[in-house]
Symmetry: D2
């Protein structure tokens, strides 16, 4: 049974640690967090001990490190864990800097340890089945991928200031999903953006509403739109148009209830919390990591996937600044 | 923390015992089953010990008894547990005989212990919200309740022979749901039935396709149809028509995927397993029992609810036999 | 080009006369109505002359008679037209009395003229395609037919008093649809009914809310519910469950619009007027009559279909009175 | 009653001429077409005479000219009709050249005659109601407009060669719809395109798959995707995301039928013919022209609307060529 050291006991660290515990296939041995009470609380929930980050990474009772700390620590911790010979599951992104990711991945490669980046949406049952059916050829060749992602409300401006901007913080998931579904890397990116939701976001130098489209070398296209506001919940839809038809994954409603009266026919809302929306995805993601380790295959999303998504985000940010299309390096 | 003795380690006993363990609010102390290996296996999963039915019921380390044994043992076990002063959660039905239920409920009443009957559908999130919105008056006065229930495939004929027949075994859930939604007791029942799915079921004296409609004293109606076969999964729909509108709960699909091609627009199947379909309902049901105990209120569905559903099933069975409408006693 | 005499220039007479004109395959030669202005107005619209009922029926410039007069005149006019050798398209029902229909059909049979009864729903594109796919075996053998029919608002009590009651006036369409879809005649009928919408309807001796279920000799079932009130429009749904699957026809919404906000996801209303709802059906029905005449085949719904629907309505009315199931003669 | 001269007796000329006839508010006096038999056939259907283009435009028995001739004749015919003092309804586009449109509109302005451009989608009941509800503020400020338009099959390459390219021929409707819904003019356009459907289209110098996104001065965005192939019909969807919610118009299915079996739940196809899809829109468009004339207000879409849509198409074509974003003049 794989023994994990969990770094970071915040919201997402909790989600992962509990998923490990409930998997019945792994064990959380240690929890570390800059806030000792947070570490202790999570450790108690999952039957683990607490320790410092260094101790946990170097512990001989730990086989794998799960990194759920703030973004700016990811690359350093990955390198430290890799050098200690640990398997690694790291929340996205490795770094907000493409160069830093490239350096980091070299260290991982040299260490020869497995690394999985937490693009949990690949494991959402709707999206993973969609991708499987695409690859099975159900709708022929992929031609246009359309991704809509709208959050119910923007995060605090203080968060946005440290986030790297909408493309790196929010659309990063859609960039990964685009590559996952296109089965090919985009080579051109053009981005639009504006602050329509909250002027404070604009003042902080970021946008809250965005449209990006991209094209691969073979001509396939992907169109992504994002908004930091949706009054009806966490709106997450994917549609793939192919030579033989169309496949799409819609929203999951809170219940199957429908009411009809003189105002029309009204269905239920969709989840407002992404943790609730992706509850299954997080659970399946952890199990996919464990399965990959057991089978001795490389887990996905890989470090390379993390790198490529970041390159697309960077290209979008550059496009927004210049107003022009950007070639992906 | 309430300590449970679980009687019966079959499929549904497993579902309940795990829900107790995962609730974080109760503990399974003992498991009993006629097959010792089944008891041991479940006990291991939930951290319990095994014991004989008599020992478990009389144990001082047990506060509550969960009965998930074969139907013909329910009434006796309820009485035994009641006399031992235990709280009781019993799978439906108390008995296939209305008279036996009435006797049994008298014993429970005399003992003064809480008794909950496992009509789990009341705790399905779709149905419980529907009922709450009905009671809140969203569609005015209830006028017509329509319930459709179709199982993917019939159970083995050997099961059917001991089941008490479709009305008592399968439609019993719909009878309870009818009362739950009508908010009033039906006084007239007329039933149709036929063996259209499998002639062997007809030879065994039962039906596999059925329609029952009922009316309350104030004129409200309920229409129920059942089939033991549905090629597309476990079809479970409820619709309530009221003076100010309509509320309905549809099927839950396996994914939100939709494919469009020259064959049309195709959505995903619905669950084929009722355990999968009602996973949330079973979990919420257990927690509702625990909450009722904590708050000192009577849990529902009550013994009386169990009795009334059985009376409706009996009336339907009599109606099928005579071809005439039957007044509910 | 077939020349029609249209008897009755009311709402439904107008619908049919315009459908004849627009068909490009027939001509309205004469219009007759007890109110001369109504006849003149319709005649002007469709390029016809006016005349008395007797003159129109006996005119040598008329090949076919379309009867859209009040119900109590239908049987007499059919007989008169049949004796004059005219082809006949008569609005449902032939008569509220089964005996009178039987007499009338004998006269038609003796005259050897084609007679079509206006069960327009058979020609609704949704229902006619549903029936064709049923007959093609798409869902195997029919097992349960479920029909829901709810009118937005009740007609005036003065109308209800002369209507023959809900079963003969409103559910008659569903009885015909039941036979159309079952492909077999029901042999047993049990009916429930109540006045829940408007007490004045109850005082007039009628009901406004009803449930009827029926069974054929081979065991197939049909469940029908009716209400004279639906706050969200003219609710018309049909569902057929068969051995290999399910086919259903849902409501047609006014537009495809959907709005999402913090109140949920709201689709548009459905038509409130049956003329709007069945606009296509009326047009196709007229053309089906013309096609049948051109091909020399018997038009449907036939006089026999009209008779059988009336027998089911009569059985339902008797069942409501006695509370017991009624065998259809 | 307005008397029309219809120029062009092809498919769309027929649609318009019949809509005029059926309106009951106008009369087709003359039909002209380069192919005399086509003109004669249409004239016979609508009760008109035939004549040469020059004769029709100059006829004193003609009040209004409907232009449904090949695109390259539109601007000349508009000028000729304007100089003759006729009201004008012209199929889109005025010209494939922005300059030519500007010249032409000056002539019309000088003549002071009403001019309507045939952007029929504005009159589709789904889209016109959507726009009305937007303007009424139902979802607050418009933020993102998403338009999906996919034709079932590409037109012949011979047509494509003369079409001005996908942006001017097909996406032109979406450009008009974008302006209609944004309520503001886009100032930046970036376009992607590829020939993924048929290599022959690529050889002819055109594309068959395209994505365009645009932004207005205030930051609102519009995302359009087009494909010349959709195996499931004429896919036409619009979604508007606003500060207070979302409004969308989906596809219209051929029937409301749904089948469920072990392959899933399958709804019907959508129309394959745009004439069938937009039957109502064409009829309402003609009546909107007549109403505007009667009320003495300017009909829409106006000549200016036609010009602006063409400017967006031109910007998209330039963007595709240069790979860069283009500022709309």
């Amino acid at each position: 049974m794989l023994r994990f050291g969990v770094l970071g006991a915040g919201r997402i660290g909790n989600v992962h640690a509990k998923a490990l515990r409930d998997s019945g296939r792994a064990q959380v041995a240690f929890v570390a967090d800059a806030m000792p009470e947070a570490a202790a609380a999570l450790a108690a929930k999952v039957g683990a001990r607490t320790g410092s980050v260094d101790d946990v990474i170097s512990s001989r009772e730990v086989d794998a490190i799960l990194i759920a700390t703030p973004t700016d620590t990811h690359a350093d911790l990955i390198e430290q864990a890799a050098k200690a010979g640990k398997m690694i599951l790291c929340e996205k992104p490795v770094s907000l800097s493409v160069e830093r990711i490239e350096e980091c991945l070299k260290v991982v490669e040299k260490a020869g340890v497995p690394l999985m980046i937490g693009f949990h949406r690949r494991y959402d049952p709707n999206y993973s089945v969609l991708e499987r059916r695409l690859r099975a050829g159900e709708i022929g060749d992929v031609e246009i991928v359309t991704i809509i992602c709208r959050d119910p409300t923007p995060p605090p401006v203080s968060y946005i200031e440290r986030s790297g901007g909408l493309y790196r913080d929010m659309m990063i998931h859609d960039f990964d999903m685009a590559r996952f579904l296109l089965g090919e890397d985009p080579v051109t990116v053009h981005a639009l953006g504006a602050s329509l939701v909250d002027p404070a976001i604009g003042k902080a130098g970021d946008i809250d509403t965005a449209a990006v489209h991209m094209q691969t070398a073979s001509g396939k296209m992907c169109v992504i739109t994002n908004s930091r506001r949706a009054t009806y919940g966490h709106d997450q839809r994917i549609e793939v148009h192919g030579s033989k038809g169309m496949l799409r994954a819609g929203n999951m409603h809170l219940t199957t209830l429908e009411k009809a009266n003189d105002g029309g026919f009204t269905s239920d809302l969709i989840p407002f919390s992404f943790i609730e929306r992706y509850e299954d995805a997080y659970r399946i993601e952890i199990n996919a990591f464990l399965t990959a380790i057991e089978k001795g295959v490389a887990p996905t999303a890989s470090g390379h996937d993390g790198l490529m998504a970041q390159k697309l985000a960077e290209a979008a940010a550059e496009s927004l600044k210049t107003g022009q299309a950007v070639a992906v390096r």
